[in-house]
């Protein structure tokens, strides 16, 4: 190899994503103190200080997704987003930028909106994960947020929409008296390419109890 391929993410170099994956083991270990129940994992080994190393091989993991405990086996470097999508077939959260800038992968973690592409699945153990799929009940009752998106046509291709509705649901759960301006701030970490923001504003206005503005 005599080329600067290392600067390409395709090459053998060191990328931000590698870094995230590489630190998986340490990060996972550091979260363990907060997680009382450690999943049985063949690779887990406890040293004299009580710190637990997981990996680099695959390990069994249990995640609570939309009220259900789900189990799979993943390498510690797998992000929460990839665990949900690739291993648990929960695909409402979308992979778009994969770098924490577009919000399409937004899920709620114990009620707080997070970019699931920017944390490891291991870090989500013991927490309640909610995706857009949780915003409709099994008997078809629809949450007010997606219902408002449908009514006001605040979606076109719909690929960003699950991220937006999760972020909006979390914002309203945090502050039920949020104004439209508050909600816009809460959605500023999400990007839509089709350009549904104007219709989203209509949806937000109705969710904030102010009705659609004239015009």
């Amino acid at each position: 190899m005599n080329d600067p391929q290392g600067r390409s993410r395709n090459g053998p170099g060191y990328s931000r994503r590698d870094f995230l994956r590489g630190t998986g083991i340490a990060a996972a270990a550091s979260t363990l103190t907060a997680v009382p129940a450690l999943e049985p994992a063949a690779e887990a080994a406890q040293d004299a200080t009580g710190a637990v190393a997981i990996g680099p091989g695959s390990t069994k993991i249990r995640l609570n997704v939309n009220g259900k405990d789900m189990e799979t086996t993943i390498e510690p470097r797998v992000t929460l987003l990839d665990a949900l999508r690739n291993y648990l077939d929960v695909t409402g959260c979308k992979r778009v930028c994969d770098r924490g800038s577009c919000g399409a992968c937004t899920v709620m973690l114990d009620g707080k909106p997070v970019y699931s592409c920017s944390m490891l699945a291991l870090e989500a153990r013991g927490k309640k994960i909610r995706t857009a799929e949780s915003l409709i009940s099994e008997d078809g009752r629809l949450d007010a947020v997606p219902a408002s998106f449908v009514q006001h046509d605040a979606q076109q291709c719909g690929f960003c929409t699950p991220g937006f509705v999760v972020a909006l649901r979390a914002a309203l759960d945090k502050n039920s008296k949020a104004t439209p301006a508050d909600v816009e701030v809460a959605l500023s970490g999400n990007i839509c390419r089709c350009g549904t923001y104007e219709q989203m504003r209509h949806a937000i206005a109705s969710l904030c109890g102010q009705g659609k503005e004239g015009g």
């Binding site: 391929q5 470097r77 778009v96 799929e133 915003l135 629809l142 291709c157 104007e198 015009g215």
Partner: protein, 761 residues
């Protein structure tokens, strides 16, 4: 038999929430990216890190032995040349994405790095250098892209009351489809391929794959139930789709290959740039007398013009998409020249109204600059130079663009002026009511687009004895609301509700359909559905009438029932359909450009007037606030007045127009593909530094649909994104009295323009 839209319309033209809204908003809709199959392998392409190089050697030996690797497919062998950073070399599939990344890193490639050019200005300086593909006779990356002259340009400039010269331009922007390009490929048997592809063309995708693998077209199925954005960049399987199917065949397992964000931006297409030197002349009465342009743009490593040269100044001299649209010849003296600047960058693809935003940006700002020199409100200049209705065109077809273009533009300008309060808000450039460093400005721009039927598109409607109705079509819903349109039309004709229609859509084997490009889907699909539903209704009447001992000609549909207009007797829908007994009623409908433009041989009048049509206008007014200290531009308001013939679904139509405006605000203020001349790579192939606006960055948008049901259906997807940036450019000029020449109108460019003027607005 001639076909027509119902005169009384219960559902068409009303606000209808899209039928798949809940599926999408709750994350249950399965996009191609979401398809998981047992045994699925994940695939990725190793791409060139160099903008121009020769592959000296390629060694996949170590990668083959890596854990989980299922198949490797070489795209460019040793000895091949690569022409941009992102060019495909070899693809690999493995059992997990983690294994896939590891194995990709184990592939060894040696390159002989060659000279590259990635910036237009560099290529224009080095015209003796060719760094892209081509024969020996091609010495340069810069190639002629057309040249034409009409009238006496120099004489007209000499005689004119005012002449203005200026530089204008629009940067290359990336499609940034949120669902990246790619597909999931699964071979059921040796010669049966099923793909879930993120595409704007299910039928074409299946066809290209069948041709590539030399299998019967009936054995290839392309499914696109949901699609996460294409904007013109997703026709056919593309190289990554073919590669995924190759890997799946080799591995004997299904393969998913979706581009990552960097690949999506560098290899998934872009809208080519356009920059030009313009000279425009006019008289005190506001008439433009001459227009001269020398412009260039880059289509990337491939080729092709980046403007519609014969449309400039746009849309005053616009010819039209179809030959039937007559050239206005509105501007008597014209000189136009275009150069194609090929670069070692990703190839351009069609993007939402290809070449029109560029053409608009090279014309409408110049019109405002001329108005300023003449001391006129640019509104007056626009009205004075609008293309005229073609005399006699209304006799042949009063709904045609030839008969209506001046009328439509004039009406729309009038509406836009009222909705934007133009008469109170417009002020001479740079002379607005001052508020310290914040300057207000308002600007207008016009556009036009074809949006005819293309197809052929086919729809089938089946009515069962239980009264259930199924509509089937292979066309795809990209988020344009085509699903909902098909349901609305079927339900309208059969007197039913949308929830009564079972729709099968987005599967290539469900009939023929064209790709969704050029805003042609609705004008192809809605009339096909009208015909299919009408034929199914007639078949139902024909089969049931004898059993009820009534004349089928007396039967009519009313909401939820069938009525015998002779006796006044009526049957509820289900009751009537039950009389089918062991039969089903079916209807098939087709629509295409060829059918749409059929004319009577003698009268030359259209055979199916008012079903679908071609060419729309559109007017947008933008308001901005410019901070003359920081150079920040905020777009505060946009009024968009848009026609598209007959509106089928007002809610989704308005939503698409607002979306077009937002895409326009994005490329006006934020978007720029930034190339690094040293490494030859794009420095912002991501979503952090490739800027797209969020909800807080967007203006208030007022959409007015200029509904003209008598024209029939015309496409709406593309036109509303054309003139937004030019309107914003004009608004900035109106605010600060100096032109910021090219997009994105970022603070540095605003401050540079202000300093050129002397620092003050």
């Amino acid at each position: 038999m001639a076909i027509a839209w119902p005169k009384e319309r219960r559902l068409i033209g009303k606000d209808t929430p899209r039928v798949d809204g809940t599926e999408k908003a709750t994350g249950r809709a399965k996009y191609s990216f979401d398809i998981n199959l047992p045994g699925l392998l994940h695939a990725r392409i190793l791409r060139s890190p160099h903008a121009h190089a020769k592959i000296k050697s390629l060694d996949t030996g170590a990668a083959e032995k890596m854990p989980g690797v299922g198949a490797i497919h070489v795209i460019k062998a040793a000895g091949s040349e690569v022409f941009y950073a992102g060019d495909e070399i070899v693809a690999l599939a493995a059992d997990t994405e983690e294994h896939m990344h590891d194995a990709i890193r184990a592939i060894k490639v040696e390159y002989e790095v060659l000279d590259h050019l990635v910036k237009e200005e560099d290529a224009l300086k080095a015209t003796d250098k060719r760094t892209v593909s081509g024969g020996k006779q091609q010495k340069s990356n810069v190639q002629p892209g057309g040249e034409e002259t009409r009238g006496k340009v120099e004489e007209a400039f000499a005689k004119a009351d005012a002449v203005v010269e200026g530089d204008y331009g629009v940067a290359t922007v990336c499609h940034q489809c949120l669902e990246s390009h790619g597909l999931v490929a699964h071979w059921d048997k040796d010669d049966h391929l099923k793909v879930w592809c993120s595409t704007q063309a299910t039928v074409l995708t299946a066809q290209v794959l069948a041709d590539h693998f030399k299998v019967d077209a009936n054995n290839v199925q392309c499914i696109t139930h949901y699609m996460g954005g294409g904007f013109g960049s997703k026709f056919g399987p593309d190289i990554q789709g073919i590669v995924a199917a190759e890997l799946a065949k080799k591995a004997g397992k299904p393969v998913k290959l979706m581009l990552d964000r960097e690949e999506e931006i560098t290899a998934g297409g872009n809208r080519p740039s356009a920059y030009g030197k313009v000279k425009i002349a006019g008289n005190r009465d506001g008439k433009i007398t001459a227009f001269e342009i020398d412009c260039y743009g880059t289509p990337g490593y491939g080729g092709g013009s980046t403007v519609n040269l014969n449309f400039l100044p746009y849309p005053y001299d616009t010819a039209g998409i179809l030959p039937s649209i007559q050239v206005t010849g509105a501007i008597p003296n014209i000189k136009r020249k275009h150069s194609v600047v090929r670069l070692n960058t990703g190839g351009a693809r069609a993007m939402r109204a290809p070449n029109h935003p560029q053409s608009c940006m090279l014309s409408e700002p110049a019109v405002d600059d001329l108005a300023a020199k003449l001391g006129l409100d640019p509104l007056q200049l626009r009205l004075k130079n609008l293309p005229l209705n073609i005399p006699g065109a209304d006799e042949r077809d009063p709904t045609s663009w030839n008969a209506l273009r001046n009328t439509i533009f004039t009406q729309e300008i009038d509406i836009a002026v009222r909705l934007s309060d133009w008469k109170n808000k417009w002020h001479p450039p740079g002379k607005g009511p001052g508020n310290g460093v914040l300057k207000h400005g308002i600007g207008m721009a016009l556009h036009t687009w074809g949006g005819s039927a293309a197809g052929p598109n086919e729809c089938k409607v089946i009515i069962s004895r239980s009264g259930s109705v199924t509509a089937e079509t292979s066309t795809q819903d990209l988020g344009t609301g085509q699903r909902t349109v098909t349901c609305i039309v079927t339900a309208e004709i059969l007197g039913l509700e949308l929830t009564d229609i079972n729709l099968k859509i987005g599967e290539s084997q469900l009939g023929i359909s064209g790709g969704s490009g050029g805003s042609t889907t609705c004008p192809s699909q809605a009339p096909a559905t009208l015909r299919a539903a009408t034929a199914a209704r007639d078949d139902l009447f024909a089969k049931v009438a004898p059993k009820l001992k009534v004349d089928k000609a007396d039967l009519a549909i009313e909401k939820g029932k069938v009525v015998d207009t002779k006796s006044g007797k009526s049957w509820a829908w289900k009751e009537f359909c039950a009389k089918l007994g062991s039969e089903v009623a079916r209807g098939q409908g087709e629509w295409s450009l060829a059918i749409a433009i059929q004319t009577d041989e003698k009268t030359k009048k259209p055979l199916n007037p008012g079903v679908s049509n071609v060419q729309v206008g559109g007017v947008q007014v933008a308001e901005v606030v410019v901070d003359t200290e920081t150079g920040m531009v905020q777009c505060t308001n946009v009024v968009a007045v848009q026609d598209c013939g007959m509106v089928i679904n007002k809610l989704c139509c308005e939503s698409q127009v607002a979306g077009g405006v937002i895409m326009g605000v994005n490329y006006a203020l934020f978007e720029d593909r930034i190339m690094d001349r040293h490494t030859g790579r794009q420095v912002n192939a991501d979503m952090e530094f490739y800027k797209l606006g969020g909800i807080e960055d967007m203006p208030k948008i007022k959409v007015h649909m200029h509904d003209m049901p008598e024209r029939g259906v015309i496409g709406i997807g593309e036109p509303p994104t054309i003139s937004t940036a030019a309107a914003i450019s004009n608004a900035i000029f109106n605010a600060i009295g100096v032109r910021v020449p090219d997009t994105p109108f970022t603070p540095d460019k605003v401050l540079a323009a202000l300093s050129k003027k002397g620092g003050n607005a």
